[in-house]
Symmetry: C2
Subunit: 335 residues, 2 copies
């Protein structure tokens, strides 16, 4: 997505969609001897880009309309992400709306915001993506109202016989919300492509959907999530309650790094609805386990006693997952 | 367990059961200025002890009747474990049966085997454990025939009203084999203790059992398993088929360390039965996911498309779990 501001098509302003973009950005930075970079947006792509730019020596600034990065995650985890990027020398400027991009002196760029002008050499747009559906529309395939993505069934077939769709452009069934959503991620695109191909080739196959598992690394921090956030749970008609616990990624006696885990469950049914985690190691492991739990639905009560591979280098005898589940069960029982 | 050989009660010969044992062993090594240690057995406790002894500077030798360490795991993984300990300077002597322990010169010990005498200063027994059931027997609690452990129900109650049991001494329900087994692990003991306490205190609770999730670290290697091995699956009446795949713990483009994953499934039902993994990072994560999958049963077909948190630092778009599941499904289909 582009911000829709004057100057956004100037040379030195890039979106990040494919390998060609990456090559163009790297060439530009090298050929123009860029020293400074500005990133618009603060999602996980913006976080990953800030690390990449910092690692090749650029003075890197993230400019964001909101207060904290990665708004998909709980504010506590967003703060941990903010600490990680600033600790690594990335500048984060919150509460700024981009107004225009101008040419500066000697080939530089000026990012004009509602709070002042930021001088830079290259600007990257990390504002999210919208599904590319022009081709599908042109041949009459139905587009999802809420998602803007191509409607498909469980075989990846579109509303038009003989036309299949796979990847970021099409919808995916969310097994927790039980709704068709847009989840533009590479692993899902791969799975859909294989299912579509199998059906096109004459071997029936179904794509059983996703649970919204996602992860990114920024510098030494792992950040991951699955299922629904409280807001998404509310929007999907659930009655969510959540808890956020902090522990370590090893047994406490071994003094591993801090690891935070938030889980969301439905008050009415006691079912797990979603989870988020952040820490220097261990976060993705927790989310992968909880993704598997979400696949077929899982009770909080069971989650509190789930059998996981225990050894002190990998966690406590009571895993953070157990602790969070039991804590949330108590909260729901006492409320 | 002790080997039942002459001299096994000599000073300097230790079992490893609790914290007191650890303190006694450390004191003995320090006070006697031990330079050499021998470990009998080659299970995961023996592996962990070999690392601990090597790290404090002792010349460490593992003496084992069989050919390869950690026989619970596939031979391919046992070989990786053997490489890891020998790379770190631990000597592994296979195919040797201990016959006796004698006093040597100047306070040293002689471990007499069927293949020669090993001179050492301290000997650790890592031959496994048997449930301690004397107290339970003395009050008339039933003992499991196959397990030798105290029989309990899902509330941890023994066969005698008013007596509960928890921990390594009692049985645990295995959710995959659907049988009562003995799994002497700290996390299971903790869970059973809490359930027993809750029931004793008047709040009914059930312990829903385990799936055999287990892990250990030796030097830089993670080794883990869950569910049933092929042999255990056969013994439990299943019709097992397995596959073992190698990949990396990150996306291949990032060149992470090698990671091996073996999965076992039932030919008749296509259900996952068990898994094993080994690698320098990532093995426990795979096993934790698969433990969650085993909890309520999981089809291989679904496992091949399970939604996991994908990002290149944490694996490929097709996770090793997907690759193994699809591979095994093809094997079963073509056989």
């Amino acid at each position: 997505m582009m911000p829709g501001i004057p100057g956004e098509t100037l040379e030195g302003v890039f979106t990040m969609k494919n390998l060609t973009d990456a090559i163009r950005i790297k060439s530009f930075i090298r050929d123009r001897h860029c020293r400074r970079a500005a990133i618009l947006g603060a999602g996980y792509i913006a976080m990953e880009m800030s690390e990449a730019l910092k690692r090749i020596g650029l003075q890197t600034t993230i400019v964001y309309r909101g207060k904290l990065p990665v708004k998909k995650w709980d504010g506590e985890f967003s703060k941990v992400v903010l600490e990680e990027i600033t600790r690594n020398g990335v500048e984060f400027i919150p509460g700024r709306k981009p107004m225009a991009i101008d040419k500066g002196r000697e080939g530089s760029l000026q990012l004009v915001t509602d709070g002042g002008v930021i001088e830079t050499d290259v600007i990257l747009m990390g504002l999210g993506v919208t599904p590319e559906v022009d081709l599908a529309k042109s041949v009459g395939c139905a587009i999802g109202e809420g998602t803007g993505a191509v409607q498909v069934d469980f075989t990846q077939k579109t509303s038009r016989d003989g036309i299949w769709s796979a990847g970021d452009c099409c919808e995916v069934f969310h097994r927790v919300s039980r709704r068709w959503t847009s989840i533009p991620l590479g692993d899902i695109a791969n799975k859909q492509g294989r299912i579509a191909g199998s059906n096109i080739g004459g071997r029936p196959a179904r794509f059983e959907g996703a649970v919204g598992a996602t992860a990114f690394r920024v510098f030494d921090l792992e950040v991951a999530a699955c299922g629904l956030s409280e807001k998404e749970a509310l929007d999907s008609g659930f009655n969510p309650e959540s808890t956020l616990v902090w522990g370590t990624s090893t047994a406490r006696s071994m003094g591993g790094p801090r690891l935070g885990l938030k889980i969301v469950a439905d008050r009415s049914t006691g079912k797990l609805l979603g989870a988020q985690a952040a820490g220097r190691g261990g976060a993705v492991r927790k989310i992968d386990v909880l993704s598997a739990c979400l696949w077929n639905g899982f009770d909080l009560g069971e989650l509190g006693y789930l059998d996981l591979a225990y050894a002190p280098p990998f966690g406590g005898a009571w895993d953070l997952i157990h602790i969070a589940a039991q804590e949330l069960l108590r909260e729901i029982a006492s409320s």
